[in-house]
């Protein structure tokens, strides 16, 4: 069946890619998505336990048939070492969010202390004018804290994309599926 008339349901998939450190490889990877006008929900690049190897966590909302095709097309890129995809139940993931709120909200409001405690957030720094709070967790968790803090006034808010790690026992470079070999 062609990709245009698929009746498959769409899901959130997380791609884990490993590439050599080469300028421009990120464009090669993202162009596989932009070519078919598929939005990338989030993307994170980091170093790995292997020197010179970079790891990309990419989240997209699509069908399994399409994600299979895209994963192979990404893995085909000469500088990509490996590409695998998984649905949420097979990975552990975390996001980090930072909140800048007025310090007066900490000093004058009695409830802020409980909000921070209930959400397992922590205070990173306090300044005369503002306080910075950090929270890690899933998106809905950082979002809940955002909503809880909103009444006190949020100066600035930033949230990373998720980073994820597989629930398989094996580790890169011995992941069981999607190997180029």
């Amino acid at each position: 069946m062609s990709i245009t008339n698929m009746n498959e349901t769409e899901k959130i998939f997380t791609l884990a890619l490993f590439s050599r450190n080469k300028a421009g490889i990120l464009n090669r990877i993202t162009s596989v998505f932009s070519r078919i006008k598929l939005n990338i929900d989030s993307l994170n690049v980091s170093e790995t336990e292997s020197e010179g190897v970079f790891r990309y966590s990419i989240k997209v909302h699509t069908t399994e048939k399409l994600i299979r095709r895209l994963t192979k097309q990404i893995e085909k890129q000469v500088d990509v070492i490996k590409a695998v995809f998984a649905t949420d139940e097979y990975i552990v993931q975390q996001e980090i969010a930072l909140y800048k709120i007025p310090t007066s909200a900490m000093l004058d409001e009695i409830k802020t202390e409980k909000v921070i405690r209930d959400h397992n957030a922590r205070i990173i720094t306090m300044h005369r004018d503002y306080t910075i709070i950090e929270k890690t967790g899933h998106k809905h968790e950082t979002q809940e804290l955002f909503e809880a803090l909103e009444p006190y006034g949020i100066y600035e808010f930033v949230r990373s994309g998720p980073i994820s790690i597989s629930k398989l026992k094996t580790q890169f470079p011995n992941l069981k599926y999607g190997s180029k070999q």
Binding site: M1, S2, N5, S19, R20, A23, G24, N27, R28, S31, R35, R68, R69, K72, Q73, E75, K76, V78, D79, V80, I81, K180, Q181
Partner: protein, 590 residues
Amino acid sequence: MFKVENTNKKPIINHNFQERNEDEQLEPTVNMLGSEALINCLIAEGIEIMFGYPGGAIMPTYDVIHQKQDAIKHVLVRHEQGAIFAAQGYARASGKVGVCIATSGPGATNLITGIADAQIDSTPLVCITGQVHKDLLGTDAFQETDIIDISMPITKWNYKITEASQIPKVLARAFYIAKSGRPGPVLIDITKNAQMEYLDYCYKKCHYFSSYHPEPSPSLQSVKAAANLINTAKKPLVVFGQGVILGNAEKEFNEFLDKTGIPAASTIMGLSAIDNNHKNYVGMLGMHGNYAPNLLTNECDVLIAIGMRFDDRVTGSLDTYAKQAKIIHLEIDPSEIDKNVNADVAVVGNVKYTIPQLTKRVGEDQYPKWLQQFKYLQKQEFDAVIKDDLAPQSEQISMPEVIELVNELTNNNAIIVTDVGQHQMAACRYAKFTQSRSMITSGGLGTMGFCIPAAMGAKIAEPNRTVIGIVGDGGVQMNIQELGTIMQTEIDVKIIILNNQFLGMVRQWQELYFDKRYASTDITSPDYQKLASAYGIGSNKVTSRKELQQALENMLNHNGAYLLEVMVGQEDNVFPMISPGCSVSEMRLK
């Protein structure tokens, strides 16, 4: 100035040139100029010729090309698109890596169409582009363009060299990537400072690097499963593509067909991989292919796809494509598996190795009844289409009868290079081949303007073979400036313009699907004979059937390049045809 001379004179490449020392250089040569190192890399890779056009950012390299012209030839084209199409023609005819070279900015961007063409048709190319000095990168300098980013989605690999010391390693990798696995175009962008700096030169050919596995090894299990399916099949059908040619697997493929007796149909890119007279050969697949293999795709019980990628022009509507059949897919590129058609058994690997493994395990079945079904449909196609194509009732010459005469006069031995459109379909349907690598056409991208430069490259690759370019009156005007290259380099190509005074294929669609509203498809031509004569090229024009054979003979006997214009039926259509969105089994004869 060197010349490409006629076959009875000295060939452009002296193939007896002393054998190059294949041994890798172990001791570095100190203080070599980057541009010299670049050309030395090409020589070390066995490159004998490149096609290009000079300009500011690549001048230091051209200076070395001038100094080393005894070891490596350069053909000056008239437009960079001509250079890359010529390199493609060269690569497709020879099986070697084609090399083209251009300057930065417009020189580089003029290569883009050819790069896209080579990517989709898996043609091994190394394209070298000059780039502004590294300190000027990102400043909108004169003739600066970010060709690496522009070419990224259409190259197999690309790399920007900004220091001379990177040259040997990157070039070695470029050639390795271009030709290994599923071949493709590689672009190397080299800044002017890198060409002018000095390095310690030491060239080692690349045979491996860690993130790249060009030839996945097939699992024995999949080979066995494929053999089992074939052995139980009653109506198996082989559909093969360019993978057979790219893998140099023609012999192995023939052995497989000889043993099994399975009927085999070719994609446009697979043409000439086997002799048209092979007893199993049942014709071409696709939109304008043959009637029998298209219809019977939807009747076979096992479809064995070999080195092909189920392009939409081959499959028609995927919803109704070979649904009754088990699919076996032999393919080197894992990303092609299940892309368009789901494979029941995927044998991933180079067909040169997977076909013999399969041959070993399949029985010597013959399928006389099944082949009879092909014969029956072939007869239907002959009566409805081919008979009139080859011997038209009308006074006007038809495209197929020109191709048929070319077959006769060349004993099916010519290299046919086409452009894109109706004449291309006529050539692919009717040209006959006895040798592999004899049909050079822009299959995937369908690029008009391909024919003349690609024919030049093919002739340079195979100086002892007759190279005939078949081109329409639209396509010929797209890279007609390359007649200047043919003149200057004296390339002995024969060009047949099949002139129907229309952009014929688009006109055919307008007739069939747009109520004959011929929007911008009537095209006028210059006086091609005057034009040829201006370029010092022999020419003739034929309007009636009785002159045709003599004119073709004169063309073939002419010493040097020749342009023959043949006026053909203005509103002739190419049939049979699978209408867009229809199933292969709905192919129409009229």
